[in-house]
Symmetry: C2
Subunit: 447 residues, 2 copies
């Protein structure tokens, strides 16, 4: 059954084109080359010029899902000037390097290899001297790939602590304060280890809002929270008895001044430390916007910070699409609304899917029977949940076309089975791995 | 503790002003007078002219939460020309009328008085002749206030049927098809009873999307669904044995042609029937927009059709507000984003609140620690859940101010206790009953 009008077919094709334009802007090598230019001995990073001949050693360190292509691009730029270094990548992401040690490690669950990788990176940081430069490449997954608990605390202690904090209703900034104070690398400690070497982090952000102290828990970013804040949080939620004893003792020792504080914003370390975001969700959205405008759409960027329960965010996207059709608010058709960020799925069924596919399914239900609306959602890493799809695309005929294949939308949604739903009507978005990750893109098109 | 900057105080004051401007536009009497003008014997309703001297009798009927003030305004306009009529209002909304019978009845749970009221209204419709005019005033709650099951079906049968349809996952348009086919007044049957009299419905919409066939289940609107559709739905969800027998038999008799169908769009009835929306959520939003612009805000209407789980919709509003602060998308500050519609709350706690208060609380958590953001949410009826508040207003200091009063936002949210949360910091929005209802207004202001 082909219910799709030429307008709908056009909108769906355009959604794919707009998505790919967003992807291109945040491809890791592209991101490095866009923000870093080499001219002779000068390496321009952002608006800063690093004279490479000035340094005795130049080290490259990195961790994250995009560490392989980022490292490759930076190695190419540094070429003969590179002394050596270490990059920690996900299993299966190994790529040979002549000058850099590449370590594969566990993600999303940290493992022994990750501990070894973090140690190697700390060794590089510690040995670098005043006349050395460290370039650090951070991307999504960097936190899990670089587990390095403070002395006396195990990986398991750390994980238990986070679970307790989540369960007692602590706010995310409270959890982060404690996370940084029980780590040996996060909360600015990597930059502290590197000091007095010069240090610059290039960051591909996979975090909503791009907060530097959140991405990989801010290894090169000042931490304004203190051990006293941590103990206040412990007291506020009455969890002193629940925490692993090693964690509680560590925080208490910190409060007593027996352990040094995390580096604070005014610390001289940060005169020699830089952080630059070279790729982000908003950068992908901006590129997508230009493509949409070129395709003739009235275009609006709504927010790169969408979070929360997927199917509910989808409903709000559908509500905006329907308003465009009905009254021309917030834009007149042909209209394109772009959003980004990363939602979550509370799983209650046993189907197959991912947040982007579930987003498209929930949206499809709400736009059913309306006209000329397409809602596209896909992950920029090309992987949506445990599936081979990046996401899916919904339109105003999706529900009817699925019905004709005896596929019920409500049942699939209840069972978190968006993959089989969209597979049945051939509306999965499949890109293969993109080797980047700046969260998700969503595209509403109204003709 | 006063953490509020002059900017925040100004934003909060403006939010209230903008909300009240939205309210004024949909006040029931204002809505009637704006859309209906009397000049001598001519009554102009929308773009149509009714010559009152042409009719032998002019009847006024109505039902809904705003029936009292709507009736009063229309009585004033018709004055000497009015023959009589009936209005069904909520208990406590009685107001004396010299020419119209006012009946108080149960809402939201229909009762015997509602049955009597519906009968009286059907009697007026049935007795009206070809040279008579019926003016019908519909507002939110009209469906519950006018229970009139088809012959042989009880109120309880109807309610059981709706519950079964909701539980089996039927879509809302499927539920509505069956709802209309087991009613004696909905799905165009009131207009059919009135025929051949002239009939005009003036409608204050409390329904997302303002679909005429949904508001009060469309008593004067053609129904394109059929008994065959209803039996297909029953088969699709395998509920033939679950439905009350009287309902199943009624639908089966309809399928066999033993009971007449609901009137269809091409039916000549509708040549003498008109429907005009005189107040809606979008009308309130448009008025709010003008006020916001006059106050100097860059203003965007996002959607009047927001539905879904309240706290999740709130998160998306917060995400948009934060993006405005960070990148100036979708608007540069000072910015005002307006949305409408009606969300739902899945209750898991035993606190006190309503969807608008819970919206403000969830938004407050997400904007905590940011700067110069106010998020306001209130019901246009002045009543939010079982509270004396219409809603609440959140800002970027809300969480801190509540903390200082030992009130924890996450705990209150988990316990659906937004009322006590905002009461503690004096940020409830209290208007008293407004005697109108076009769902909710939400106002994001970013300075």
């Amino acid at each position: 059954m082909n219910l799709q009008s030429p307008i709908l077919s056009r909108l769906k094709k355009d959604a794919g084109t707009i998505f790919h334009s967003g992807l291109e802007a945040v491809e890791p090598e592209t991101a490095i080359y866009r923000h870093c230019k080499r001219k002779g001995d000068n390496l321009f990073i952002g608006n800063k010029n690093y004279n490479l001949s000035k340094y005795e050693n130049i080290y490259l360190i990195g961790a994250g899902k995009a560490a392989s292509p980022m490292t490759f691009a930076m190695e190419t730029l540094l070429n003969d000037k590179l002394t050596g270094g270490v990059a920690v990548v996900k299993y299966g992401h190994f790529s040979k390097s002549n000058t850099i040690k590449i370590i594969e490690a566990g993600h999303p669950v940290p493992d022994e290899n990750g501990l070894k990788g973090a140690e190697s990176i700390m060794q590089v940081a510690n040995k670098a001297g005043e006349n050395d430069l460290i370039i650090c490449l951070i991307s999504g997954g960097g936190s899990a790939l670089l587990p390095f608990p403070a002395p006396g605390i195990t990986l398991e202690d750390k994980q238990t602590t986070i679970k307790i904090l989540l369960a007692c209703g602590a706010a995310i900034h409270e959890i982060n304060s404690i996370r940084k104070h029980i780590s040996g690398i996060k909360g600015g400690l990597l930059a502290q280890a590197a000091y007095p070497a010069s240090f610059i982090s290039l960051i591909l952000s996979d975090v909503v809002g791009d907060d530097l102290d959140i991405i990989a828990s801010g290894p090169s970013v000042p931490d304004s929270s203190t051990y006293k804040d941590c103990m206040d949080i412990v007291a506020r939620y009455g969890i002193s008895k629940k925490l692993p004893y090693a964690v509680f003792r560590h925080l208490q020792n910190g409060l007593k001044g027996l352990i040094p504080e995390t580096p604070k914003p005014q610390d001289p370390i940060f005169n020699k430390t830089g952080n630059l975001i070279i790729g982000s969700n908003m950068e992908a959205i901006r590129s997508a916007k230009i493509k949409a405008q070129n395709l003739g759409y009235n275009t609006l960027i709504l927010s790169s910070m969408i979070q929360g329960e997927t199917r509910e965010a989808a409903r709000m996207h559908a509500a905006i699409a329907k308003e465009i059709r009905k009254t021309g608010h917030p834009l007149s058709p042909p209209a394109c609304i772009l959003t980004g960020g990363e939602t979550t799925v509370t799983i209650s069924g046993n189907g197959k899917g991912g947040r982007n596919q579930e987003f498209a399914l929930a949206a499809a239900i709400d736009i059913d029977g309306h006209e000329n609306i397409v809602i596209f959602s896909a992950g920029t890493d090309g992987t949506d949940g445990p599936t081979d799809a990046a996401g899916a695309v919904a339109d105003t005929t999706t529900i009817k076309r699925a019905s004709a294949k005896k596929t019920n939308a409500q049942k699939c949604l209840s069972n978190n089975d968006a993959y089989h739903f969209f597979q049945s009507i051939n509306d999965l978005v499949i890109t293969g791995p993109t080797h980047t990750n700046v969260m998700d893109l969503r595209i509403i098109l109204v003709g």
